[in-house]
Amino acid sequence: MALTNPLSTGTSSIAGRGEDMDVIVIGAGLAGLMAAVHAVNAGARVRLISQGWGQQMVTPGWISVCDRAEDDVIAEVRGYAALHPEHPYGRAGDDAMVAGLESFRSAAEAVGLPYEQRKKDGHNMRLITLLGAVQRAMIAPRGIAAGDLTDLRGPLLIVGFAGWRDFYAELTAGNLRRQGIDARAIEVELPDQNRWWDYWPGDLARLFDSAGFRESIARQVAPHVGDAERVGFPAVLGMDDYPGSLDDLSQKIGRPVFEIPTLPASTAGVRLSERLRRWLLRKGARVQIGHPVLRGVVEERRCVGVEVASLGHPTLFRADRFILATGGVYNGGIQTDESGRVWEPLFDLPVVIPEVETRADWYHDTLLIERGHPIHRETGLRVNTDLQPLDASGEPALENVYATGQLLAGFNPLTDGCAEGIALATAYKAVHTALELDA
């Protein structure tokens, strides 16, 4: 891997707007949202600015910390981080990782969204994908966690909705059976079927907020339950009424229900984002979603503010400290172009890039190759243990800017099974170093 792009600096002629903040967080993914939560909890004045919502909107919804761990997940990460200090887990440190996970669960709980994990052994759960694969993850929303196959003793019933395009129960059940898991599928009717031709998961989830709707579904499912130990649905079992809708549906069907993540948009992500946004607003933070940050304004190796595209003209927002949670290649925190250039768009921070001749080698020939493609594995910012991005000489590029999540070099968020764990660990660490808090 090689470093490119010298650091550029520049002042701004644009007048500042709004009060000066202690912290500006850029990005509204898991890292950005949790960085804002940590900073608010530390008593800071916080502004969260983001072009859009982050990757939680499209992921399955579970929290991958170290999916490959066979037994104790935390122990596995600790061991790995000790051997790989350059890895984001190594940079953030074990304690930040544990605290980051714990504080995420508390924050989610505080907004009424319980996330579960295997407390008794600390292992990963074994969760079901849309296509019926078994995927490991450490933490998941309650409905998805209820599908953990580890303690499964009896058959599964998988329920689909006739005519709904985003879930094929027989395919899920069939692939589960191939793996020795006793599963069968049924389809139930949705009332007024002509309306469903372009329904997204969120549209269905809002219907499941209604007790009457749940009743109509439960009535159709109940006769098919038989010896099933649990009943699986696509992950659309409620939006505003969640997780109350889960308990109610379980009670009506007479078996525990669980959820299988769907194609994007992720209902779990929508719920989490919206509730954390409202929580931040209630706590006095400013939240600006839909406002792209154009660039950082740097004076003498300090960022003094960011220019934001809003209200028809750029506006400068000032703060003492800045948390970059803009994401990686997928999210726009790292940009690429046809000539093979790879860059960080806000501060032109030096980016680690794949050591290849041309962009032809950003990808391997095989799509689903085991460790993924160089453009995702070998791209990102190099940081110190305070999570400050480094310049070419290895010194912090800016005194008061901290980087988190998928913006960091050293892992492939698509294949390594740790994307959410790194987001949570680094968000925690970045805020604690930025605000000089005791970890």
């Binding site: 694969a133 027989e170 046809e338």
Partner: protein
């Protein structure tokens, strides 16, 4: 073995073969066309969509230019359903040779190509995306052409006149009676079934495969295979065909086709008639050549890249004299193997352009008819083709599909949002394959499933679920069908993975790996394979 008898067997379901089948049928000849894949899957389908006015060749190859303008007028008249009258422009920038435009305009006048000189202001008023650096601009009667629609039109018309076409029939050998070819043997590439077709004459219209097919008879047809890449941008950057006003070279054309804008092309010698590679440097070259004419297009969003193989005919010097006897231009050739090789009942047509496909067919069919002693003359230019109403190709018009969807005429779940393909359409189409195997890629070709910006990220899974339900396939098969489909889509977009497309494809990869666990499921069979190996050791 199943045996059929016809007067003429046409091999090749591209534009020339289809036009020849139509021509023969109109002359009252009993004709059968066979194609090794689906129709329009070779060079004709891997085409940029430009119906030439002839302007592009008028300086370098005057005869071809004259053929182009003549055929351009004929195709507009006989196949209006396949053509959008976009008009064309030739634009020179200050970087292009300054003496070329005058020479070009003179040649156009001589060839009968109406070239109307425009001021830079007029050119930009018509096409605001054009550069401000316009040294010369002319309007010409170019158009854009949907080669799938055109081909389907020829085949439908051929059937109306009693002809027929079979697809997925690969010719494996010929039937001979002394120095006379009397038919061919073929195998159904989907079922493995073998067939024999007796014919008094066989027309080899196989484009880049012409040498391979003639080789089955021990004949030597020299063609030069030349691969060209094209890039489709996600919007119509221009509504007029834009040609670079300079001697023909790489990256000269922008063609508005349907909802996209196709940029082309490159020229690379290849030995493989099935060569579909697109190299990253070709994409860069095409974008960088288009950028001076339409500034900023280099940073636009490229949707797909593909390559076609041009079958260029270059007669060996000692044969050149014989070729001129056939009264054909240098750009395409009809080879009567009776004269050249002493073999009767076999005719090869090679070279040419899609724009001149009807003319190539006419010349080839003239030679075929001469061999058969048929005196009927070509009438394919005389009246319009019947509009192929029942064709699945009407799905190609995205605006029409959106309109139908919004007004309830395309009921059912929307499976492919990018290209507006619904569940009932998919189900009906899968059912139409009967017992034949059907891949998701077949549905893509027929219905445009997965051809939009997301390149199957969402609709791939949905289509696999529907395929399993309709065909009652095993979950392994459905999962593998999905794996094959998304891998194929990946190959198509790989040279374009930068900028927005890297992000789009990262979402697709996220869905395949994390949401679906497709990689995990495709690997389920791997450990078993290892066990077998261990056992063998």
């Amino acid at each position: 073995m199943e045996t059929t008898s016809v007067d003429v067997l046409v091999i090749g379901g591209g534009a020339t073969g289809a036009a020849a089948a139509y021509d023969l049928a109109r002359r009252g000849v009993k004709v059968l066309l066979v194609e090794q894949n689906d129709l329009t899957t070779g060079t004709s389908g891997r085409y940029h969509g430009l119906l030439h006015s002839g302007g592009r060749y008028v300086v370098s190859d005057f005869d071809t230019a004259v053929e182009c303008i003549t055929e351009n007028r004929i195709l507009r008249r006989i196949a209006p359903f396949a053509i959008e009258d976009t008009g064309g422009m030739f634009v020179a920038t200050s970087q292009d040779p300054a003496d070329f435009p005058a020479k070009w305009a003179q040649a156009c006048a001589k060839a009968g190509i109406a070239a109307e000189k425009l001021t830079p202001e007029q050119a930009r008023a018509a096409e605001p995306a054009l550069t401000h650096d316009i040294a010369a601009a002319y309007r010409v009667p170019d158009a854009s052409c949907d080669s799938f629609d055109l081909n389907h039109g020829f085949i439908t018309a051929a059937r109306t006149f009693g002809g027929d076409a079979w697809i997925y029939q690969k010719v494996t050998g010929f039937l001979r009676d002394g120095d006379q070819v009397v038919g061919a043997e073929m195998v159904d590439t989907r079922t493995g079934e073998q067939r024999r077709v007796h014919a008094a004459c066989v027309l080899n219209a196989t484009g880049p495969w012409a040498g391979v097919v003639a080789g089955l008879l021990g004949l030597d047809v020299m063609i030069r295979l030349d691969r060209g890449a094209m890039v489709a941008m996600n919007i119509r950057w221009v509504n007029t065909v834009i040609n670079r006003l300079r001697p023909p070279s790489d990256g000269d054309i922008l063609v508005p086709v349907g909802t996209v804008c196709v940029l082309g092309t490159t020229s690379i010698r290849t030995e493989d008639p099935a060569d579909k590679r697109v190299e990253v440097w070709e994409v860069s070259k095409i974008l960088n050549e288009a950028d001076p004419v339409v500034p900023g297009i280099r940073h636009g969003r490229a949707l797909r890249a593909w390559a076609g193989v041009r079958p260029l005919y270059e007669p060996p010097a000692e044969l050149a004299q014989a070729e001129t006897g056939h009264d054909v231009s240098r750009r395409f050739a009809v080879i009567d193997h009776t004269e050249r090789d002493g073999l009767r009942g076999f005719v090869t047509v090679v070279g040419g352009k899609l724009t001149t496909c009807r003319l190539m067919a006419e010349h080839a069919v003239d030679v075929v008819c001469k061999q058969l002693g048929i005196s009927a003359r070509c009438t394919t230019a005389d009246e319009p083709l019947p509009v192929p109403e029942a064709s699945p190709r009407h799905y190609h018009r995205l605006t029409k599909r959106v309109d139908q969807q919004e007004h309830g005429e395309l009921p059912g779940a929307l499976i492919c949002e990018c290209e507006v393909v619904t569940q009932p359409q998919l189900e009906a189409h899968i059912a139409s394959y009967g017992d034949q195997p059907v891949a998701l890629d077949d549905l893509r070709r027929d219905l445009r499933l997965g051809m939009g910006p997301c390149q199957a990220g969402f609709c791939g899974y949905r289509a696999a679920g529907i395929l399993q339900r309709v065909r009652q396939t095993t979950p392994e098969e459905a999962t593998r069908a999905l794996g094959d489909f998304v891998s194929e889509r990946f190959r198509g977009v790989r040279p374009l993975l930068y900028g927005h497309h890297v992000r789009q494809f990262a979402l697709d990869e996220l869905i395949y790996r994390r949401t679906l666990g497709l990689d995990t499921l495709l690997n389920l069979d791997q450990p078993q394979a290892e066990e077998v190996r261990d056992g063998a050791d």
